[in-house]
Symmetry: C2
Subunit: 403 residues, 2 copies
């Protein structure tokens, strides 16, 4: 009896831990981005509102079973950002219209044959052909990026309507009601999404771009200090943050696609050059790869002895601090959408520091030392010189955005 009790207690304890673990994770997720909590409440509100519309519709029998399409549309269309929601909503509405029209047309056309056997074969064949062709279209990269969901809904609506066994006038009525309810659901989702604490994908993309550039600047600043000191905490956050930049493409691409759907908001005009963010992202990543190489030298076991390194300290720290300032300024520039003139000064300074470093390397700094000992420091120096041109590239692409 006691053993059973003990087993039970252990189970209970385990479950308690699991629940508190989930609770902690939920708290962390909510704190990391409070908009997540708001989004959940928004979705709950929109679904509850449209569900009650569906509920009352039963008494009046306005849309009948079709009213459930409104609920379905809200659940499926409501996404985190306004752009994603608008994109899905527009896709769904247009695809339903197109698919419905083609479905009604096909239904009528086949009905003319009069004989049921031929009708079935023709319907099956048309569904097969249209579904196969539309599915293949989903592999086109450009279509996939923006209209994938639309093609899916097109296939769905077309097959549902063309094979429905109703008479032609009923089909037309059904298609009309379905479209109306989908519009109601889509409108509810989009209105709640836009007018209650909206989350703009464009703004997120904008902030992400700025913070990625910022992270590179932070790393360089920290690196300048860390590399010329004997022992330093190499796990500090400022030296690790850049790692997320390396794989930022996966976050950036969808955000750009969403942002294109968004109307004018805040400081972003309707035709904001979102594509330019992809270019900035690409040069930022290029710079991050170089920084990753730098980071390897910080953690490498083979190191140039500190007393040899210090000979390069002045010019190297000058480069890192100037590049870092330039990058930080650029990040601020992206955030505020201004072109700061001090960026250029920092870049000019960084360039001249790079020149100095080159000249310094030319003088034969370490006359009687083992060449092997010098290599790491020389590599670091040459990476830093390259980083200056990387910074220039980022500055150019940011400037293009500003104009």
């Amino acid at each position: 009896m006691e053993r059973v009790g003990g087993w039970f207690k252990a189970r209970l304890e385990k479950m308690k831990n699991a629940i508190s673990g989930v609770g902690k994770e939920a708290k962390r997720l909510g704190k990391e981005d409070p908009r997540r909590v708001v989004h959940s409440l928004k979705v709950g509100f929109a679904i509850a509102a449209v569900s009650l519309f569906y509920y009352f519709d039963f008494s009046f029998d306005g849309f009948g079973v079709n009213a459930m399409w409104a609920v379905m549309t809200v659940v499926v269309v409501f996404e985190f950002s306004v752009g994603a929601t608008l994109g899905k909503g527009v896709n769904r509405a247009i695809a339903t219209l197109l698919g419905g029209a083609l479905g009604v047309g096909m239904h009528d056309l086949v009905g003319f044959t009069g004989e049921e056997k031929i009708e079935v074969v023709l319907l099956g064949l048309s569904v097969f052909l249209i579904a196969a062709m539309a599915t293949f279209c989903r592999f086109f990269p450009k279509l996939r990026a923006r209209y994938d969901y639309g093609v899916l809904i097109f296939i769905l609506t077309f097959s549902l309507i063309s094979v429905s066994g109703y008479r032609a006038d009923v089909v037309f009525d059904m298609a009309y009601r379905r479209l109306t309810t989908i519009l109601i659901g889509g409108a509810a989702a989009i209105l709640v999404c836009i007018f209650i604490c909206p989350v703009w994908a464009g703004q997120d993309l904008h902030k992400l771009t700025a913070s990625n550039i910022d992270k590179l600047g932070t790393f360089l600043e920290a690196f300048g200090h860390a590399y010329f000191q004997e022992s330093i905490d190499k796990n500090q956050a400022s030296l690790k943050d850049y790692k997320t930049v390396l794989n930022s493409k996966g976050v950036e691409d969808p955000l750009v696609n969403f942002a294109k759907w968004e109307p004018r908001h805040g400081k972003f005009k309707y035709r904001h050059p979102w594509e330019q963010y992809l270019k900035i992202g690409s040069v930022t990543r290029e710079c991050a790869y170089k920084i990753d190489a730098l980071n390897c030298y910080l953690n490498s076991e083979v190191q140039t002895p500190l007393e040899l390194r210090t000979k390069l300290q002045e010019s190297c720290t000058k480069i890192t601090s100037e590049c870092s300032s330039a990058l930080t300024e650029l990040a601020i520039g992206v955030r505020t959408m201004t072109c700061s003139s001090s960026t250029e000064i920092h870049i000019v300074n960084a360039k001249s520091a790079a020149k100095n470093l080159k000249a310094l390397l030319q003088t034969g700094l370490w006359p009687d030392t083992d060449f092997l000992h010098i290599i790491p420091a020389v590599t670091v120096a040459s990476l830093l010189i390259e980083l200056v041109s990387c910074t220039v590239k980022i500055a150019d692409s940011v400037e293009k955005l500003a104009t």
Copy 2:
């Protein structure tokens, strides 16, 4: 009149070009991966088959309007790979079951109050709470990776069923029919997906991992030749292919998630260590970042003069060719799931070549030359030495997969 005709002609020409452009792109996509064409036909077949089931059901009135859930399920669940289809199908089935059960329960529970006003408030509140909570759950990264679609369907089914204005026994019947039709649709999609020319995500992941390692090997081989020649086509494919590896994470992560859903197939057992592919991918990318740095030196304007470079040629080419062979062997090893012993020989050779290169650098190869001229070559040499340890890392992680 002529002007109108000319305008019309120009339009027609433009349209012709656009259509032929789409046709060419379609041909390219089909040639690149013929499975895309097969997939489209499979989807068309499955949808047509289930649509006809829906069509005939109208005459027998077996499932009524609920039969359309079968069509919907096929359209939404049928994905390119077996893993993705199974994942979506299982998610949809379980989520419908759970959401339906909770919905029926809530519907019954609220029905006990008897008064309609209280009923409506309670229903709205429960939909709001459950939808908001479930939506927040979609932010949990682990849940999102595998069960995102399930949570969506759970919210959908729960709200549709709990607010439907039917009497309790009708609701139960409806939920039962909906589940049955979803199972029919899901089964059709899964059966067609598995038994007609299946596309296994696991196999794709496997091939991708091997080809990524292969690409690095090809680059190194080509680099060894290109770097020590005066002029060479720096745009050849073997020197560019590695670029796709840099951003491979976005392709790999979903494939791993899909692969986990797949049953035993071919040479893959049920519990194949798919997570290990993520580790291999991560070290492969690390290696690719280094290779990107190497590539910069190939295209850089500041170069060590060729006559100075040639002094390093022997050991450098040795390293590149040995590393390249090791990587190619590893790629073959991944493909055939064997552990080749010749990889180790190549790695031992590469390590000793790296040692030689270090010793060579120590000897003071270029006594009276401008230090600045040597730097690029020295950096390349030190990058190559690092690449040896990168190769060792890849070999280790591949070996772990084999055991």
